[in-house]
Symmetry: C2
Subunit: 209 residues, 2 copies
């Protein structure tokens, strides 16, 4: 982002007297995400609330589920270090804008807190409501000034939470095999019709040049 855009973001947070801890989260998340997307900022308030209700803090060994692949995973990744690559973040794309946190636990489940956007509460913020409900008449994009203003005004007021028991599955054992088509190593249990997924139905590129 340009200096001018960072300045606007700081002014917006100052105008809405955003908590200093949340400002720090927002700065880090925006840097990672590369711009102040509505879902990311909302995600910061969600993660902050979930931490509070779980009685946890960044640095604790936490696990997160993001129920949306849009923006929200980045708030969890940056603030909590529950990253996609370290397996402490699961993206379970239910389509709901919701994040669930739990602490490290043995066994197959753990007590956690689920925070979600409560659509009835969102109605008090017209631009946020239009964006959130994907109103076809809404044309402000994902980082328009009115939208971000609504999010900063609303903060956690548009959120609800519940206590849950999060379920998870044990790691599967696997063996490594060479795909006879491409010659690369893959887990044996991912072969289908004798070839790896990249040579099968997950192909996403063509060879060039």
């Amino acid at each position: 982002m340009k200096d001018e855009e960072w300045k606007e973001l700081e002014e917006l947070m100052e105008k809405h007297h955003v908590d200093e801890g949340v400002r720090k989260y927002i700065r880090e998340c925006v840097k990672f995400h590369t711009f102040p997307a509505a879902g990311l900022l909302l995600g910061v308030f969600m993660v902050d609330l979930a931490l509070e209700k779980l009685g946890a803090k960044p640095g604790d060994k936490l696990y997160a589920v993001s129920e949306s692949p849009k923006c929200l995973p980045d708030a969890a990744q940056v603030i909590l270090h529950t990253t996609y690559g370290n397996h402490r973040l699961r993206v379970i794309n239910t389509g709901r804008f919701s994040v669930t946190l739990n602490r490290f636990a043995q066994g197959n489940s753990a007590p956690g807190v689920r925070v979600f956007v409560d659509v009835d509460k969102v109605k008090a913020y017209p631009t946020l409501y239009a964006w959130y409900t994907n109103d076809p008449n809404y044309k402000g994009g994902v980082d328009g000034g009115d939208l971000l203003d609504d999010i900063m005004t609303a903060g956690r007021r548009v959120l609800s939470f519940e206590h849950v028991n999060v379920r998870f599955e044990p790691k599967e054992k696997w063996t490594s095999v060479k795909c006879p088509s491409c010659g690369e190593m893959v887990p044996g249990n991912t072969l289908s019709k004798g070839v790896c997924r990249a040579c099968g139905n997950m192909a996403y590129y063509d060879r060039a040049g």
Copy 2:
């Protein structure tokens, strides 16, 4: 990580004369990921090579595909800001340890570079080979000293690359509907049997208390 662990990592990079640019990537990635996992460090060398072959640098508007959900996505996220939440990273779990980069492009495909671990080259590094092929006799974990030593010795010597055309699909339009079961908003096209996926086959928690 503890100070002592950071010191060990610095000593390891110094011992192997790791390029200063790569050291910076490694520090940032390890901080995000919370520990120096083998797949993460290998991922740094992979992303670095892909950048070079694409003639790109961090800060350019890039898109990445990680063919593995393990560690590798974090190297792309941290170095390139192709994040899960900003949709510039796709995880296409083919099971291969491979990353593909391309620049922003109009249309449905773009020229890119795919970097992958070349198993024949890995054979020269016994501990790395044992870890990479998931040898049941390998007991060194994902951040054992011998393993990290092999990775720093090997660097990009265990990698190969190819030029590809990356395919992608246009965004789908969607409308927002309220799930009649949980009352939360979801994209209409994700309902199944009249309820959202969270109330259906993606349920991952039980209500508590």
